[in-house]
């Protein structure tokens, strides 16, 4: 009996974990309890060293010092303030009117606004709820197919998960021991490819089944000129002007300016030109621009400014992702104040929710740290490795099995749980198989996005259900009876998008370039590394703890401290890596060093 226990401790522990989790008590404590239970049993049976649990407080200190995860409250607060600021409503209204009169136009508007909201913040609930409240009634009014309408809304909301800045990528970066900036850059092209695939789907639907996505009658546009014309020509002219300005500006930049800097700065110039023209037009009463052109410009400015503030500064290397989050949150606060949408109750509520989310996420991490402490002591990682490396097909076999696993686990677990429980187990194996972890992270993020769309537990569907009409109602404008949206319609609507998601996972596996072309050719060593370096410095004691899973970017709390030994391949080229003790100086140095290196 003892013999059996001792030699099969790892599988027993893993099976118990599943039982503990399904038991239905909060994940954080179930994980911790499972680890604690086996730790104590293991020590009693003499399978583990007496001092096993001594390492626990230091592991938790490691989590407390984690600069990457600090971005979680920042981006959460930003999203919570933005969702009340009215930005999403304005965007949906204006872009909806702009595209509405073409076939499938409202669906395109929802996807585009979804992508834009996703690039400002990373909160799925806010996007889905605002689209469900604003766009869904209009789509129903003009006879959109209910499955298409609800599917488009739910799926566009989940774009927030993959388009940076997103929380999933932050958590994955932490667990994989890679820099958040790299994951953001890697996820950029897949995120927009996915957006394009959604648009392509709507296009196919609108061709194959025109009655499912009808064009709006042109009187549905309320933004129009006094003579009734839509005023699209001056919008077109304005668009061409700003694109022209951006291109001209880009051409005048000195040779060798890094591409991402070029794109970011030129886009700013283009948007700036449009903004200045629109303001001048209004101030001087020139009436050169149509109302539509003016509305579109003014509505696009706040999100674009926020995107620049967050992603722009991160990609330019001015700010770390954590600081980008803080600046974005500050920007959102300023914007909400300027729009008179921010008051004390709202601020309190946003801080309260942020605090609760941070606490539950970090406690899951603490719980998984307790678990992995015991799991390592029974050589669990070795067991997992044997299990996964013995799969037929090498890398590809591993990738397929892991993706199927995550896809099905995503029915039950959300991405926080997946990242903290499953990723630490498979990441070391992936690295052993020679898989690039940044690419792997983006791949998993696309896969985990389905966890929001899976019927019947997907959160996005759940949010949409809560705002979609659940009873027949009379439309306000046409006074016609409109029947409710059934739960079945919402579920069926999500299915094509889950399939698109699977297609995207396949595309990333088939064309790894989708991810890596967003990164530089050279391994970019950036600010995060420097942060991790300086963390590992004062986390020296944590390194005395048994190495996690044998490979550095392993689990939970020690990921950053573990990444110190992982850094060398990249670190060789990093001038900031000398014996300099001052963390701040190192941070600045590495930022400077980082800049010219960008291709």
């Amino acid at each position: 009996m003892m013999q059996f226990l001792a030699s099969n401790m790892a599988p027993i522990m893993f099976a118990s974990l599943i039982v503990f989790l399904l038991f239905g008590y909060p994940v954080a404590f179930s994980l911790g309890a499972c680890g604690l239970f086996f730790g104590i049993v293991g020590v009693e049976l003499g399978l583990m060293p007496q001092t096993l649990l001594q390492a626990l407080p230091l592991r938790i200190f490691g989590i407390m010092q984690n600069d990457t995860l600090l971005a979680i409250p920042f981006f959460t607060l930003m999203g919570l303030i933005l969702e009340r600021s009215g930005m999403a409503e304005d965007l949906l209204d204006t872009i909806g009117q702009l595209f509405g009169p073409i076939r499938g136009g409202l669906a395109y508007a929802v996807i585009l606004v979804g992508a834009m909201l996703a690039a400002t913040t990373g909160v799925v609930a806010a996007s889905v709820i605002s689209m469900g409240l604003i766009s869904l009634p209009i789509m129903l009014r003009y006879g959109y197919d209910r499955r298409v309408a609800s599917g488009v809304i739910a799926a566009s909301g989940t774009l927030a998960q993959i388009i940076p800045p997103s929380l999933v990528l932050i958590v994955l970066a932490d667990q994989l021991g890679r820099s958040v900036g790299d994951l953001y850059k890697g996820a950029f092209i897949p995120g927009f490819t996915l957006t394009a695939l959604y648009i392509f789907y709507v296009l196919i639907v609108s061709v194959a089944r025109p009655s499912w996505t009808p064009a709006l009658p042109s009187e549905a546009r309320t933004i129009r000129e006094d003579d009734g014309s839509p005023g699209l020509r001056s919008l077109g002219v304005l668009f061409l002007l700003s694109v022209g300005a951006a291109i001209v500006f880009a051409k005048t930049r000195p040779e060798g300016t890094p591409t991402d800097e070029l794109i970011v700065v030129s886009m700013c110039v283009g948007v700036g030109v449009a903004f200045v023209l629109a303001v001048a037009n209004r101030m001087l009463g020139m009436h050169l621009l149509s109302r539509m052109a003016e509305r579109v410009t003014f509505v696009l400015i706040p999100p674009l400014a926020l995107i620049f503030l967050v992603l722009g500064t991160i990609f330019l290397g001015v700010a770390t992702p954590t600081e980008g989050g803080a600046m974005g949150a500050t920007g959102a606060l300023v914007m909400a104040l300027a729009r008179r949408r921010l008051d004390l109750p709202l601020l309190r509520q946003a801080m309260d929710t942020t605090m609760k989310i941070s606490s539950f996420v970090l406690f899951i991490l603490i719980g998984s740290t307790v678990f992995s402490l015991s799991f390592q002591a029974v050589d669990g990682p070795v067991w997992v490795e044997h299990l996964l490396t013995s799969l037929p097909g090498g890398q590809l076999g591993f990738l397929i099995v892991v993706n199927i696993l995550i896809f099905f686990l995503a029915f039950f677990l959300d991405f926080f749980e997946l990242s903290f429980i499953v990723i630490p187990l498979i990441a070391p194996v992936a690295e052993k198989l020679g898989i690039d972890l940044v690419w792997f992270g983006v791949l998993l993020a696309v896969n985990m996005q389905t966890s929001f769309m899976h019927p019947p537990f997907g959160f996005a569907l759940f949010y949409l259900r809560s705002v979609a009409p659940s009873e027949d109602y009379d439309d306000r404008i046409t006074s016609r009876r409109i029947s409710k949206v059934t739960t079945g319609q919402i579920y069926w609507g999500a299915v094509p998008f889950v399939l698109i998601q699977i297609l995207m996972v396949g595309l990333i596996i088939a064309f790894p370039k989708l991810v890596s072309s967003g990164l530089g050719k050279e391994p970019t060593v950036d600010v995060d590394k420097a942060f991790q370096q300086m963390q590992s410095q004062d986390r020296q004691p944590a390194r005395d703890a048994p190495p996690m899973f044998g490979t550095p970017p392993a689990a939970s709390g020690t990921a950053p401290s573990g990444s110190a030994p992982a850094a060398p391949p990249a670190a060789g080229e990093q001038p900031a890596q000398n014996s300099d003790d001052d963390a701040m100086k190192r941070l600045l140095d590495s930022m400077q060093a980082d800049k010219p290196k960008k291709p």
């Binding site: 606490s359 306000r476 963390a583």
Partner: protein, 206 residues
């Protein structure tokens, strides 16, 4: 049971009070981090103290709020299976979880981390980074946060048992009655109705 319920109410109120104040640390961390980034870029100066205070604040937020999060039932669970159980079974699961999962964990962490905090205080330990902050307050956060969690767990335990005895209504109903998403949806609905009324008014008086 009555004195225990009084105790539970006292604990809940104290936890609520802690949560109210700790929430402001979120804002403080955001502003300090944004300011630090801006100042560093503009004037090329900064200090490790600003970097360290950020994670001090973050650690304070998630540790000190653990009890509050429990009070508000913010710790997520997987209720795919347990959601189908009867209310009483779910309450029993909670009782086992509180007494068998949370309290032992709290005990172990406090037991192991208090000596570290005391040592850091006695040795007057500072961060090894130039200009770094004094260390003991952040070491002390760990036992403090888990203590608050443990105290709240006791209160939750009392409430669960009182419910099983039929003394109080279901304690697992969310106190605000609505989830954050429901509140958001309601807020947006109100706003969009107001906007629609405004438009209708504009339409009538052109």
């Amino acid at each position: 049971m009555a004195p225990l319920l009084t105790l539970s109410r006292l604990i809940d109120r104290a936890t609520e009070w802690v949560g109210r104040w700790v929430a402001w640390l979120v804002l403080a961390a955001v502003l300090i981090s944004a300011l630090n980034a801006a100042v560093r870029k503009a004037f090329n100066t900064s200090s490790n103290a600003y970097l360290e205070i950020q994670w001090y604040l973050f650690a304070a937020v998630f540790l000190l709020a653990a009890g509050y999060t429990m009070l508000r039932q913010g710790h997520v669970k997987i209720d795919v299976i347990s959601g189908r159980f009867s209310k009483r079974t779910q309450i029993w699961i909670d009782i086992i979880g509180l007494a068998g999962f949370v309290l032992p964990l709290v005990y172990v962490v406090i037991h192991l981390s208090v000596p570290l905090a005391i040592r850091s205080y006695v040795m007057n330990e500072y961060s090894s980074n130039a200009g770094g902050l004094i260390r003991w307050p952040v070491f002390a956060l760990l036992p403090l946060g888990f203590a608050l969690l443990g105290i709240q767990a006791v209160s939750e335990l009392i409430k669960r048992i009182a419910f099983l005895r039929g003394l109080i209504p279901d304690p697992t109903q969310k106190p605000e009655g609505k989830s954050d998403e429901e509140q958001l949806a309601e807020f947006m609905r109100l706003k969009s109705e107001a906007a629609a009324r405004e438009q209708a008014a504009l339409g009538k008086t052109p």
